[in-house]
Amino acid sequence: MTRILEVTNLTKSFGALTVAKDVSFDVAEGEVLGVIGPNGAGKTTLFGMLSGHITPSSGTVRFGGKDITTTPPHRRAQLGIGRTYQVPKPFGQMTVEQNLRVAATFAGQMDQRTADQWIGETLALTGLSAHAGALAGGLPLLVRKRHELARALAMRPRLLLIDEVAAGLTEEEVSAFITMVKSVRSLGIAVVWIEHVIRTMLTATDRLMVLADGQIVAVGSPEQVMALPETRRIYLGA
């Protein structure tokens, strides 16, 4: 399978604090890669470097075979990298439909007709059709998280970065998200999915990556990785 994302030796320091050390990994087309790790492991920072909001201290990011290490965020979005935020960042004064339209128009670069259709599909897939006309700023938490996912999907990305959607949700709501991620994958979109509550994501991921203190501790199939003593130490022993 071709690789859509190739990360090599990515390193980031904030002053004396190194948040990512020599991080290297690949994501294949259509693959779901789970990323887990304790608080402050550097997961969100890693996403920031993939989406272009944070400039790495060193290392490279390649997307679809192109070096995008210094490409600004909006260009990366146009290339097909969509991301959600751990703390949702809706366009609060716009409707849900308009939020999605922004992504479809500017990142997805769709014309009006295509956008209309795709926005409709995205709304249905994320179960937001009923909220299409609501102001995004006034949505309740669960809906807000779905909206965050929906907006990233609305640009029809090739790679979707999901940052902790399951935290604080009930069992049922989590399984609804897992279903959504599965349907996203069936559309041929590759996914990198950060999550804290690991069990929730195991069924939907092809591979799992463990990050601690800015370093990759383990990568492999979910069963393998979960069986490793390092993973257990981080998650159970700490």
């Binding site: 210094t70 716009m94 128009t105 990142a107």
Partner: protein
């Protein structure tokens, strides 16, 4: 489409509805036609014509500020820098070159535009070039200036050494300043500082009257100014109205609501901010150009006064931030309060200040919000007085 409904802060832009738009279009055309005829009815030199012209100018200034603050979320209290620069450019061009009216007017818009371009240019250039850009600007300014002075000594506009250096230094700093990256109070204070710094320069610049000010002998009659101002405000209003309905309007609102998310959604945030900053400067310059042709005199104190910002804030806040009709409504209120009531009491600005505080408390959406949105909005008429405000009180 209902003009006043258009994307007030706090209300989503209403999706276009062709059948609803007709009465408004007709209304706007009738209003425009009436304003064209007014001078013929009341007499071309009438006080009313002058008041209306003032209203047009302030509505335009309001539009320009609203574009930045109301739509773009960039609160500037330094619009006076564009106003002062426009006025002085005009005065200088008239005094030294005796240029024709239209050229003078365009110049009054172009110079602030160029200044704004200088301010935002570093943002348009990718990181590695940022520092060198400041140096390039600096060397170009110094070299250009020195060559010009060598060829024609009387061009030495900076007089003594210090002012000259300070002037160039100022541009060096401003050229390297990532102004548009600042947000909230930092942006506001930065714009104010820039205005004050430029005002300091103009206070000592012999070419511009060395602080004593200059005359603006544009040799233009009131009627011409009236129609120019009317045309300007009409074009700007229509332009913003159309612009906000385009995809650009969508991008602008996304940037205002969340810059990071906007970038992640494929919007070039800096380009959007730069465009509105530049347009705001240009429009402000054009309006100020007309103002000073009418006022016929400009001093550093009048051109760069912070009062300009408080006027403009009043116009937009009274009318409604982030609405197309807001500055129009606000300018009428402004003229009534400041020019009519104010001239009777001599305390126009005090009243304006008090009114803007009251309006922000009682009616943060402005008068446009009151007219625009049926009865629903009216239930929020007195939002801040009714119940205690921050957490912890009265619970």
């Amino acid at each position: 489409m209902d003009l006043s409904n258009l994307s007030a802060i706090g209300a989503p832009p209403v999706t276009t509805n062709a059948s609803k738009s007709a009465p408004w279009r007709i209304g706007a055309l009738v209003l425009l036609a009436a304003l064209v005829i007014v001078p013929l009815v009341v007499g071309t030199d009438s006080y009313i014509v002058h008041l209306l012209m003032t209203a047009f100018i302030f509505a335009t200034l309001g539009h320009a500020w609203n574009l930045m603050a109301g739509y773009g979320g960039m609160l500037s209290v330094g619009q006076q820098v564009f106003i002062g620069i426009a006025g002085f450019s005009e005065a200088i061009l008239i005094y030294y070159a005796a240029a024709p009216l239209v050229a003078v007017w365009i110049f009054a818009g172009l110079v602030p535009l160029a200044f704004a371009a200088l301010l935002v240019a570093p943002m348009g250039i990718r990181w590695p070039l940022r520092r060198s850009w400041a140096l390039v600007v600096f060397f170009c300014l110094v070299a250009g200036y020195e060559i010009a002075v060598t060829v024609k000594p009387e061009l030495d506009i900076f007089g003594d050494n210090f002012t000259r250096r300070a002037f160039l230094l100022l541009f060096l700093f401003l050229g390297g300043l990532p102004l548009l990256r600042l947000r909230g109070a930092h942006f506001a204070i930065a714009t104010w500082l820039i205005a004050e710094s430029v005002a300091t320069i103009f206070s000592g610049w012999p070419l511009a009257g060395a602080g004593g000010g200059m005359q603006v002998n544009a040799d233009v009659d009131l009627l011409t100014l009236y129609y120019l101002a009317l045309g300007l405000v009409a074009v700007v209003t229509l332009g913003i109205f159309l612009w906000m309905r385009s995809t650009f309007g969508l991008a602008l609102m996304a940037v205002r609501d969340d810059e990071d998310a906007a970038a992640s959604s494929g919007i070039d945030v800096m380009r959007i901010k730069m465009s509105i900053f530049l347009i705001s400067a240009f429009v402000t310059g054009l309006a100020a150009g007309l103002y000073f042709m009418d006022a016929m005199i400009i001093t550093p104190a009048s051109g760069f006064s912070i009062s300009w910002s408080s006027y403009v804030v009043f116009v937009v806040v009274a009318g409604g931030m982030g609405t197309v009709s807001g500055p129009l409504i606000g300018a009428i209120v402004f003229v009534v309060v400041d020019r009519i009531l104010g001239q009777m009491s001599g305390q126009g600005q005090l009243v304006l200040g008090l009114m803007s505080i009251a309006l922000m408390l009682l009616l943060p959406q402005g008068l446009a919000g009151l007219f625009g949105r049926s009865m629903r909005r009216r239930t929020h008429l007195i939002p801040f007085l009714r119940s205690p405000s921050i957490s912890g009180e009265g619970q």
